[in-house]
């Protein structure tokens, strides 16, 4: 049965794969484990990418585009049981998880030496958390995996035990704790009202809020829920922790955080609850609650503008990328908040694109940090394009993709999002979102001009291009950015021909 095949693959690879990697790393002799732990992790991520690809193939082969299954419990189990659900949205996110984890490991290979084992273990835990997060089908399991992801991320930020890392980790931890409290409270209230936490059941009950016995309770639940996930997704003004955490994290961890963790933990959940995603079978928790959509649309737009404007004034490249991430996550949330199919497709694509181009940029920041010792724009030498051509070109491609310049990948997703916002009857919002992408181009050109363009000065004579796994990561992500840009129209047409949206 293909159904079983897919569920077996999904379970085995997405959850058991990273677990196995942890076991291998820790059961081997410590000296050997230190040497191969990153490679084991890489194997797990490659396995995940391969599994996603095979799942997609199986979906198309069977013309069945989603699958529900249980791992340890029966399908007809009681509420609260772990039930999984995989569709294209999940697969898109899991592909991004595998890709960014791979890149993060490649980066770690160059930057983290003595903590490699710890890093690998924590990354695998983080992967388990994120994979679980995107497969679960009820609010409580969502919460569990969110916590797993979060805890792994806190420790990763503080991995090097430097003061800044610890401070950033603490801020993330403190804010996440608040988020957890609100989320739990929200779950309790929803459970009180509906008696169930399964997405579909909750949605069915919430779709007619007038019939709710206590509408006020429901509103408070919504408020807490929005707050919790806004903190996790760093929507303005719940974003305070994010720039500090990104900036203080080690290079490899910045790649992971900026590329996937924040989005999987926060933005993915928002997309999932706001919509039924691609298949339409899984009703989003809030898919029929109009005011939640409006609130998320406003939060998204504010984040887009705030992130873009704040990014212009930053002098540290990683901090600028952090603000840029706030802005880009705003786009994803805005797209999801339209509730239309185009908006959702745009949001999902932007999710994946953001993983690639922001991953590229953090890898570039890591490369600059490794080769020049700094990510401060005032300190970095000029004209590095001559010294580091690969880094310069990959960063330019990523910038163009972020700013939404055709034909790169970022153009298509941003275009779909802005189109969806326009169609939803908010031309003003669409205009502002478009304006922000001009500002995006402005701040990225500032970096590009300051660091890469121009004549190299004497202070940069010693600087050379990165080699090994960092260069490999830059190549890989740049190819994906360009390739996706060229393939997206074909992909969208294919999906449309299959009746997916």
């Amino acid at each position: 049965m293909p159904q079983n095949l897919i569920s077996a693959t999904a379970t085995a690879v997405f959850i058991v794969g990273p677990l196995l990697a942890i076991l291998i790393n820790n059961l081997l002799p410590r000296t050997l484990a230190q040497k191969i732990c990153l490679k084991v992790g890489i194997a797990a991520t490659l396995l995940q990418i391969a599994a996603v690809c095979s799942c997609v193939w199986l979906f198309f082969a069977n013309s069945s585009y989603h699958i529900s299954f249980s791992v340890f419990w029966n399908m007809s189990a009681q509420p609260g049981a772990a039930r999984f659900y995989v569709d294209f949205l999940s697969l898109t996110v899991m592909l991004a998880i595998g890709l960014v984890s791979l890149v993060s490991l490649l980066t770690a290979n160059e930057s983290i030496k003595d903590k490699a084992l710890n890093f690998s273990n924590l990354l695998m835990i983080c992967m388990i958390g994120m994979n679980g997060l995107v497969m679960v089908n009820d609010l409580f399991s969502l919460y569990i995996f969110l916590e797993i992801t979060g805890i792994a991320a806190f420790v990763l930020i503080a991995l090097l035990r430097e003061e800044r890392g610890l401070e950033g980790a603490f801020k993330y931890l403190a804010m996440s704790a608040i988020a957890s409290v609100f989320l739990l409270a929200s779950l309790a209230l929803i459970f009180m009202e509906t008696g169930d936490l399964h997405f579909a059941n909750v949605a069915a009950l919430l779709s007619s809020p007038a019939q709710a016995s206590q509408p006020l309770l429901l509103m408070i639940a919504s408020l807490f829920f929005i707050t919790a996930f806004s903190i996790k997704a760093a929507m303005v003004p719940f974003h305070g922790w994010l720039p500090d955490a990104y900036q203080s994290a080690p290079a490899a961890v910045s790649v992971l955080l900026g590329g996937i963790v924040t989005k999987a933990a926060g933005v993915y959940a928002i997309i999932r609850v706001l919509s039924g995603a691609f298949s339409g079978v899984l009703a989003g928790v809030f898919s029929h609650v109009q005011n939640v959509h409006v609130v998320f649309a406003i939060l998204g737009l504010v984040s887009i503008l705030y992130g873009a404007i704040a990014a212009i004034g930053q002098r540290d490249m990683k901090r600028m990328l952090a603000y840029s991430s706030i802005s880009q996550m705003g786009y994803i949330v805005l797209g999801a908040a339209t509730g239309s199919v185009i908006g959702l497709v745009g949001a999902a694509l932007h999710f994946f694109n953001h993983a690639t181009f922001k991953g590229t940029l953090f890898v570039n920041a890591a490369a600059l940090e490794k080769q020049t010792g700094s990510t401060d724009l005032e300190v970095l030498p000029c004209g590095l394009q001559a010294r580091m051509p690969l880094t310069a070109i990959s960063s330019m491609l990523a910038f163009f993709s972020t700013a939404g310049i055709p034909p790169l990948a970022g153009f298509w997703s941003k275009f779909l999002i802005i189109l969806a916002v326009w169609q939803s009857g908010s031309p003003l919002m669409a205009g502002l979102a478009l304006l922000a992408s001009i500002i995006t181009a402005a701040y990225f050109l500032r970096i590009q001009r300051k660091v890469f363009f121009g004549q190299p000065d004497d202070s940069s004579n010693e600087i050379t291009e990165v080699k090994g796994s960092l260069a490999l990561a830059e190549w890989l992500l740049s190819i994906i950015t360009v390739g996706c840009g060229l393939l997206f129209p074909a992909l969208l047409l294919l999906m449309q021909s299959k009746g997916l949206f």
Binding site: A174, M175, S222, L223, I226, S230, N291, V295, A310, I312
Partner: protein, 635 residues
């Protein structure tokens, strides 16, 4: 050739082929001339002269043949269509033969004049193209077709001036801009005319429109377009500038003759065929004012010139004034006078420019302070010049006398002030030619001796240069004594309008003739006074030039402050500066204001993230408040 001759002999048939020859042959040969091998001066010149001869024969054929018109569809856009239509009748044939004859004479002169000069090939080419376009403009029977040829003349005008001085084309640019403005007015005028006449574009179908309402605007615009081509004020100021740079045959050909012919032709068509200009009406007054202002200002400038070419160029402007004045009266005598003067002017003005070219060729300069007494070495040129000068000054029995008398007659009938100003113009014309002739050709022999250039003694020009001059001079006499020949043609053109009038022969009003002669005698006395006062013929008019009051006016005028083109250029520069300032301001908004604004905003936003977890938590609660508000508002 045989075909043309047979056509000529056949006479009385429709000479459609002749039209094609007049349009196509000069244009094709013009291109052939420039494509011939580089060293083919002889071949090029033969082709050049051949084209002019055939053109003249074809024009003669059309003049002798019957009136006819031909048309074929040119542009089709749905219901809208433009007919490519040409019409041969006595007026257009008259213009064509005048153009062809002048072009042939100047062409012969050109062949010698341009020998040894670079770019003669280009000059031949543009000369012939110019001729083809002028033929087209005279033949056109559709306002759009007319405009096509009319605007085409801009190109050749620019090119022929630019050939004279390739390093500095400012004179050519000036001519182009001024003529283009005139053409623009013409386009607008044509648009209004077509609109007002109910969409009729065929020039022989438009009924004369009464001068009321919007028609006045159309009339003024078309008239300005036509007079702009003829070089009336305020479209005159490129001519003296071009005189400095452009080859002399060009000056003789375009401002001297051809542009007058075309401009006055169109002006008469506008005043007679498209609009009904009534004597004594406001528009008539307006045109007459343009006429007298042109006469007085241009001839006033001519008086003080010390360079032969420049002096002649101002006369090329001032003579237009008489024609405009004649048309403006809208009286039969005025219009006949204008057309006759147009023909006479083409003859004697070409002759004068040709003699200036002869002087330039012999002495290397036309500066009157450096040359004197040239009749001793260039007797034939001196005779030709003298006849033309007497003619332009209005001395009987040369042609200029008769046409001017007709215009004086019309001016007196329209208003005493116009007559007096026209007489004043005649006085100044005579005075300036007395000065010019006396200084250049009489008195002791003098020419610039320049050791280095090994300047030989000036000598008479080759026959090819003085024969055209003499032919033109002969016409001055023939059209004066035998004015019945051209006047019969002109009066037949005007048809019924002339019923009961015949202006050939000796002027009808003897008293006017006597007044004119008195003016001429006064001019001679004035010249003698000036000559005695300063001892030099070239300074014979200095007592007017440096008269109190006039002196200051002349200074201002010589500096170009009275040149409408300079005003236009000043306005354009001021406008450009304004645009630049606006552009800077917009740049400032983008480059400074916006950047400052965003960077201040950005710094401000960045400072909000001060690193304190407590503040971040405080924001969370502020955010929750807003979310709650939004949830309630949008519930």
């Amino acid at each position: 050739m045989l075909n043309i001759l047979s056509q000529l002999i056949a006479g009385g048939n429709n000479h459609t082929n002749l039209i094609y020859i007049m349009l196509a042959l000069p244009a094709i040969l013009g291109l052939v001339v420039i494509l011939l091998p580089v060293k083919g001066y002889g071949g090029r010149s033969v082709a050049f002269i051949g084209a002019l001869v055939i053109n003249a024969l074809a024009a003669l054929g059309l003049l002798l043949g019957e009136n006819f018109s031909m048309r074929f569809p040119w542009v089709h856009l749905g219901d809208f269509s433009i007919q490519f239509s040409l019409r041969v009748y006595n007026f257009s044939a008259f213009i064509l033969i005048a153009i062809a004859a002048i072009a042939l004479l100047i062409g012969i002169y050109t062949v010698v004049f341009m020998r040894g000069k670079s770019h003669y090939g280009s000059f031949y080419c543009f000369f012939l193209l110019n001729l083809a376009l002028a033929n087209g403009a005279a033949l056109a029977n559709n306002l759009i077709v007319l405009l096509f040829f009319w605007a085409g003349l801009l190109v050749t005008l620019f090119a022929m001036i630019a050939i004279g001085n390739r390093n500095n084309v400012s004179a050519a640019v000036k001519a182009l801009i001024i003529s283009a403005v005139a053409d623009l007015l013409l386009i607008l005028g044509i648009a209004i005319t077509v609109w007002q006449s109910g969409g009729k574009m065929m020039m022989d179908e438009i009924m004369p429109l009464p001068l009321t309402g919007l028609n006045n605007v159309g009339f003024v615009l078309m008239m300005l377009g036509a007079l702009g081509k003829a070089g009336a004020i305020p479209f005159h100021s490129w001519i003296p500038d071009a005189a400095k740079d452009a080859p002399l045959p060009f000056m003789a050909m375009m401002p001297g003759a051809l542009e007058k012919l075309l401009g006055i032709y169109l002006a008469v068509r506008v005043a007679r065929d498209f609009y009904a200009l009534e004597p004594g009406s406001g528009m008539s007054m307006f045109i007459m004012i343009i006429g007298v202002v042109t006469i007085i200002l241009a001839v006033g400038m001519a008086m003080i010139q010390k360079d032969m070419k420049r002096l002649l160029s101002f006369h090329a402007i001032s003579q237009v004034g008489y024609m405009v004045l004649g048309i403006g009266t809208a009286l039969p005598v005025g219009i006949v006078g204008a057309l006759f003067h147009m023909l006479n002017n083409a003859i004697y003005k070409s002759a004068l420019f040709l003699s200036a070219g002869a002087v330039e060729r012999s002495c290397g300069t036309t500066d009157l302070k450096q040359i004197s007494g040239l009749r001793r070495v260039m007797p034939i040129t001196a005779i030709g010049f003298t006849i033309a000068a007497l003619s332009i000054s209005g001395v009987p029995p040369f042609n200029g006398f008769f046409s001017k008398e007709l215009i004086f007659d019309a001016a007196l009938e329209s208003g005493l002030v116009f007559y007096i100003l026209a007489l004043l113009g005649a006085f100044m014309t005579a005075a300036s030619f007395l000065k010019l002739g006396h200084a250049a050709f009489f008195g002791p022999l003098k020419w610039p001796h320049i050791e280095e250039s090994n300047n030989p003694n000036p000598r008479e020009t080759p026959a090819a240069m003085y024969v055209p001059l003499l032919i033109l001079a002969a016409f001055c006499l023939v059209f004066g004594l035998g004015n019945v020949i051209p006047l019969a043609g002109i009066q037949s053109i005007l048809g019924d309008f002339m019923a009961g009038h015949d202006y050939s022969g000796w002027p009808h009003s003897m008293s006017l003739v006597l007044i004119s002669l008195a003016v001429l005698i006064f001019a001679v006395l004035n010249h003698l006074f000036g000559k005695l006062r300063t001892g030099q013929a070239v300074k014979a008019l200095d007592h007017i030039h440096y008269a109190p009051g006039l002196h200051q006016v002349y200074n201002v005028a010589e500096k170009g402050y009275l040149d409408p083109y300079e005003w236009l250029m000043f306005a354009i520069k001021a406008y450009a500066k304004l645009c630049f300032a606006i552009d800077r301001a917009i740049d400032w908004i983008y480059n400074v204001l916006l950047v400052k604004l965003i960077s201040v905003l950005s710094k401000g936003l960045a400072h909000l993230n001060n690193g304190h977890s407590t503040r971040y938590m405080a924001w969370v609660f502020v955010g929750m408040l807003f979310v709650l508000l939004a949830l309630i508002l949008y519930l």
